[in-house]
């Protein structure tokens, strides 16, 4: 990262506050430093404590100045109309995720026959931000608020599962953004469980033990899985992310023991080798697994977040049948495929690309951010 010019510190000190100057290295520009200082002050004023406010502001600024993400410093991140609690050990929800989740909810609401029910599965749920916002949006939309909605979130991390449940309670009982599941006229279920989606038992468990959301079919399989290669993690990932957010949430590779059929101890394997073993790039491992899961559960729609345009194209190719672990299914056969950019709802320009001989619609503006598949015949 380039050094900031001394004049910028001087301006921050003079025009805003010495505290803003302290925040500059973490925030990188005056406007963000001013905003973050304001939000820290508001947070302190809005929460009670025996410690004097000035001291609390100073402490939080100091923490942020050392590079800790603001969301961990303040303990929350707004997500749509919700407030998501954030803690070290669980990935902070990103604005791009918020954007496609809202867009996804609007699609579900618009294409829903009124008598139907909706069942949704979110793999790698983290804070639970995606299921919670989907639920909120579906319950606030007149066309879906009266139908039964069943959502299930899965994560391998016990910290994530605990936080997701906390977030459900926080937005229901504390903030009242969500109705309690039992309230009159509202029918929904939302559950979070701790599971490894790579476990061979995952899909059978799901189908047999009725862990899957209830209802005749799965309407949506959604996932924002780890998608950063070890190399990109070291070189192309922001320092605050690398130093403070969990690697488990970002880099595939901690699930390798499930892939070793010979019982050797693959824990020592390099991540690159792990990728090769699964027959794809290390950053694409989860998509290979998600494709298998999709082939087994046959959801009506699939949405997976991706790290950029190239990965989006590879994932489209993967789901359309090329590559992968070759389980002989035709997961992508009958699906319409789309690539969504960062702001999928913005400016429809009718953009299209061809991948694996299929026409793929591209929505919105920004970087390639998600791959969406839809099969209305399911």
């Amino acid at each position: 990262m380039p050094r900031l010019p001394p004049s910028l510190f001087w301006r921050a000190r003079r025009e805003i506050s010495p505290l803003a100057a302290q925040l500059l290295p973490a925030c990188r520009d005056l406007e963000s430093a001013a905003n973050e200082l304001r939000w820290i002050r508001e947070h302190v004023q809005d929460t009670k404590s025996a410690i004097p406010n000035t001291l609390r502001v100073w402490k939080l600024v100091d923490k942020r100045a050392r590079g800790v993400p603001l969301q961990y410093v303040l303990g929350t991140q707004p997500f749509g109309d919700l407030e998501i609690k954030c803690r070290p050990g669980v990935l902070i929800p990103r604005p791009e995720t918020e954007a496609y989740t809202l867009y996804l909810a609007s699609i579900l609401s618009h294409s829903q026959p009124p008598t139907h029910s909706l069942s949704i599965l979110d793999l790698c749920t983290g804070t639970g931000c995606i299921p919670l916002l989907l639920l909120h949006s579906l319950l606030t939309n007149p066309s879906t608020r009266d139908i039964p909605i069943h959502i299930h979130g899965v994560d391998i991390s016990p910290h994530a599962v605990a936080l997701a449940r906390e977030n459900q309670a926080h937005n229901t009982a504390v903030l009242h953004h969500l109705p309690p599941p039992s309230s009159s006229g509202v029918r929904y279920t939302l559950d979070f469980t701790q599971q490894d989606i790579f476990s061979p038992a995952f899909v059978p468990n799901f189908l047999l033990q009725d862990l899957r959301p209830k209802g005749p079919a799965l309407d949506l399989l959604v996932s924002n899985p780890p998608y950063i290669s070890p190399r990109d993690f070291a070189t192309a990932t922001a320092r605050a992310v690398r130093n403070y957010e969990p690697r488990l949430a970002l880099v595939p590779g901690h699930q390798r023991h499930h892939l070793s059929s010979d019982g050797s101890s693959p824990e020592n394997e390099e991540d690159e080798e792990f990728g090769q073993r699964y027959g794809c790039r290390p950053e694409d491992i989860f998509y290979t697994r998600l494709r298998e899961v999709a082939a087994a559960l046959r959801p009506r729609r699939v949405l997976v977040e991706v790290g950029g345009w190239e990965q989006a194209q590879r994932v489209v190719g993967l789901f359309l049948g090329g590559g992968g672990s070759g389980s002989g299914d035709d997961a992508g056969g009958n699906y319409e495929v789309e690539i969504w950019r960062d702001e999928p709802a913005a400016g429809d320009r009718g953009e299209k690309v061809e991948i694996a001989g299929r026409e793929v619609a591209v929505r919105g503006v920004g970087k390639g951010r998600a791959v969406y598949l839809c099969n209305d015949d399911v």
């Binding site: 025009e15 506050s17 406007e31 707004p78 407030e83 319950l139 009242h176 953004h177 924002n224 920004g366």
Partner: protein, 212 residues
């Protein structure tokens, strides 16, 4: 423009304390004017909150990050900037950490600007600022804390107290001040009779580019 000390605490708290928003459709930000039935004298002096212009007249510019986005970075920039295509008016909101909230605030601000353009001294913004001037003296006597409690205890729709409070330490930001009340919008939606279409009157006249 940099507003280092602009306080949006009222905004943020309001956003956080909206109750039962799940019973209301979120997809209709346009119609949300509402006055409580027990209107006090002060409240009556206020023209209603102007309606948002239709989304088809709004262009939202997404601040393109130079980096990869997604999991690789963790930015806190929640600013939203919108342009009203017929008039060229541009407004920006970075009041809260919530982009969803900032999108609503930006639309509220735009509606107020269009209202002012159309109605001048009779616009909500003008009336609010007039009332505020009159009340400034009495307000100064009260401690901030005490005052805030007062504002909180009132029903928030159309409440001048909320507006004044939100803007108390805003640096010359008339729009930010007024924005404070517009966050209460997710409340009961009642029909808005007289003032509804005022903002639209001028919406076809073009080429006034305002930027903060």
């Amino acid at each position: 423009m940099l507003r280092p000390f602009a306080s949006s605490r009222a905004l943020f708290r309001s956003a956080g304390t909206i109750r039962n928003d799940y019973v209301l459709p979120s997809a209709n930000p346009g119609l949300r004017h509402s006055f409580s039935t027990s209107v006090t004298l002060q409240k009556k002096q206020l023209p209603p909150r102007p309606k948002h212009p239709p989304e088809s007249e709004i262009e939202e510019s997404f601040l393109k990050g130079s980096g990869p986005g997604g999991q690789k970075i963790n930015k806190t920039n929640s600013a939203v900037q919108i342009k009203h295509l017929p008039t060229g008016i541009v407004v920006k909101s970075q009041a809260t950490r919530s982009r969803t909230q900032n999108r609503k605030i930006a639309r509220d601000l735009l509606a107020l600007k269009l209202d002012e353009l159309a109605n001048g001294p009779q616009s909500r913004a003008a009336v609010v600022s007039e009332v505020k001037k009159k009340r400034a003296a009495s307000r100064a006597k009260k401690s901030r804390r005490k005052y805030r409690k007062l504002a909180e205890s009132q029903d928030d729709e159309g409440s001048i107290a909320e507006e004044a409070e939100g803007g108390e330490d805003v640096e010359g930001g008339e729009w930010e001040e007024i924005s404070a009340d517009s966050v209460e919008e997710v409340k009961a939606e009642t029909e808005e009779p007289q003032f509804l279409d005022r903002a639209k009157v001028q919406s076809t006249e073009s080429s006034i580019t305002k930027n903060k």
